[in-house]
Amino acid sequence: MQVNSPTWGEPDNGAGDRLGDEFGAGVIIRRVEHRGELTLDIPVDRLLDVCGFLRDHEGYDLLSDVTAVDYLGYQGEVAGYWGGGSDGRDINHYSHSGKAAVPEAAGPKRFAVSTTLCKVMTVTDGNHRRLRIRVWLDDNESISTLISVYPSADFHEREAFDLMGITFEGHPNLRRILMPDDWGGHPQRKDYPIGGEPVQFSDEV
């Protein structure tokens, strides 16, 4: 089947193997392949080493994206609907958008930070591969910043801090980027209330 969107190239399992050789088998907690995209789950404290290795030895020279995801309530049951379950789409089958559709635990912890890397200038065989490195975090856990490896991580990490409250250790300028500096809370979190926010600048003077 031909998917309309750009391919990620062949899943780069070789890079995963070489990562295992370099840092020991424990560096890759699991490999997930979904729709032709390879995701490597790695321990939090190895992120910098792994990304440095991928840049210097595997040729991943472009940091494409840094995404933080809050999985709070991902397995919980939320409002149901007639839309099918894990077996596929079926409008005659009642299910929930949470647990019923996801048979196994999504991840061990609340937050995931996915880093998508891409090969651009180092490509010799015309195959611009992509690879996703993912770490899992709990509340109050922090990860090291990628600025020393990929300088373009700067704004991505500031955004993840601003909207999701992920702390990047060693980031020289970890301030809010999109929300006002005095904003309370991190709006992209799942426990951030929707609606009913105070209207700014409406206080009596």
């Binding site: 750009p6 494409s64 596929g88 651009v120 373009s152 704004f155």
Partner: protein, 416 residues
């Protein structure tokens, strides 16, 4: 665009301590700090650039963004997939159709839904028109920033023709919401092809005129040549994609990389590359890209296949309107799709496309339900603003305006 001689690139270092901000190195008490923006015509939106000047030389710079942050990512989490589509073109409002297409492609990838061939070709047609639109606004407003008013009116006249084509096919001039998960919302109307074909020579003629206006203009060349030079290695480090990267000589374009996507796979596109890396090259690469877009539009019109314009998967795509009067099944499908939406299998996908300003990607995390669990928009503008400080180190304030215009950020895309 053959390389005539090996180019010696300037060495650019990533700024320390933070790569996106420049701090003055001296404690000269005469330094002047000025706010460029947030409301300033040369910032192309609401961008505040806090600059520190030593005389007329920029010695400190930082970008403050977020003035038009509207929480689109959070909003999309509350919407079913196809109700989220109208949000997307409002981010990058110059290259609006790219956003819609990227979101639909990400959803299709998560669904493993196949799109009919004709829909892919129509999408390419309008992606190229949106690219034309974006580059025309870039060229017009960019030339105003450099002091040439005339080009703005020419560019906006041509832009209007592009918008007329959008209006003809979907009724809206901007933010068309024409792309649909599984295809496009409607077929091309009668007479569209004839008008579009008339547009092609008009646009080619216009582009030649723009070239004549600025191509040999000594003031233009003096303002742009050798200003804000971006080496390819530095561009890669700072994550630049799109025309800005290609202006530094890196032939990376998602329309051709890995064979392209959608109908670009059949159209055999060759990326436009310039070697200069300066403001001039960034203007050149976009003008040449407009020519390439017009060629692509002609190719698409020549080779437009027939057939359906949207997938026939009734669990995802609305049934045709006329069936609702005769078929109970269709009515049920219609009702279910409109009230509850379709479900997308759990998983994480990232689908990037080449918008007018680079890699525009949707990172979609689906939980198996009818609403996305999380959507992350990888917008090219946010990334390219980071390199502004390093580019503007030690330049004149007037050159800062030229550099900012040449990297072409759209603030709706930055802030989302």
């Amino acid at each position: 665009m053959a390389v005539t001689e090996p180019r010696i690139w300037p060495t650019q270092k990533v700024l320390q301590p933070t790569p996106s901000e420049l701090y003055p190195s001296s404690d000269n008490p005469d330094l002047l700090e000025i706010n460029l923006g947030p409301n300033h015509p040369s910032t192309h939106g609401v961008l505040r650039v806090v600059t520190t000047l030593d005389g007329e030389i920029v010695v400190g710079l930082k970008c403050e963004v977020g003035y038009v942050h509207t929480g689109i990512e959070k909003n999309i989490e509350q919407k079913t997939y196809w109700k989220a589509i109208p949000y997307v073109p409002r981010m990058d409002y110059l290259s609006f159709f790219s956003g819609e297409t990227a979101f639909c492609m990400a959803t299709e990838k998560a669904l493993e839904l196949e799109v009919p061939r004709r829909a892919e070709w129509i999408r390419v047609l309008f992606q190229e028109l949106a690219r034309l639109h974006s580059h025309l606004v870039f060229l017009g407003t960019g030339s105003v920033d450099l002091g040439g008013i005339a080009l703005l009116f020419y560019c906006f006249r041509a832009r209007d023709e592009v918008l007329d084509l959008f209006e003809m096919v979907c009724g809206a001039r901007m933010h068309p919401r024409y792309c649909q998960v599984g295809g496009v919302a409607d077929d091309l109307p009668k007479g569209f092809e004839a008008i579009c074909r008339k547009f092609i020579p008009f646009m080619r003629n216009q582009l030649d005129q723009y070239d004549e206006l600025i191509g040999a203009n000594p003031i233009w060349l003096g303002r742009t040549k050798g200003v804000g030079v971006l080496s390819p290695e530095f561009a890669m480090q700072m994550g630049l994609t799109g025309p800005n990267l290609r202006a530094s000589g890196v032939p990376y374009d998602l329309r051709s990389a890995n064979g392209g996507y959608g109908a670009y796979r059949e159209l055999d596109y060759t990326p436009v590359v310039e070697q200069g890396g300066d403001v001039h090259a960034r203007f050149r690469v976009r003008i040449e890209e407009m020519r390439a877009s017009v060629d692509l539009i002609e190719k698409v019109l020549d080779g437009m296949p027939g057939g359906p314009i949207i997938s026939d998967d009734r669990k995802v795509v609305l049934p045709p309107r006329h069936e609702l009067h005769t078929s109970m099944e269709s009515l049920i499908h219609h009702f279910k799709l409109v009230t509850e939406g379709f479900t997308v299998p759990a998983g994480e996908v990232y689908a990037p496309i080449e918008s007018a300003r680079g890699e525009f990607g949707f990172h979609l995390i689906a939980d198996g339900g009818p609403k996305p669990w999380r959507v992350r928009l990888r917008s090219p503008s946010l990334v390219l603003l980071q390199s502004l400080a390093a580019l503007c180190e030690g330049v004149y304030l007037a050159d800062l305006i030229a550099i900012l215009a040449s990297i072409d950020p759209v603030l709706g895309d930055v802030d989302r």
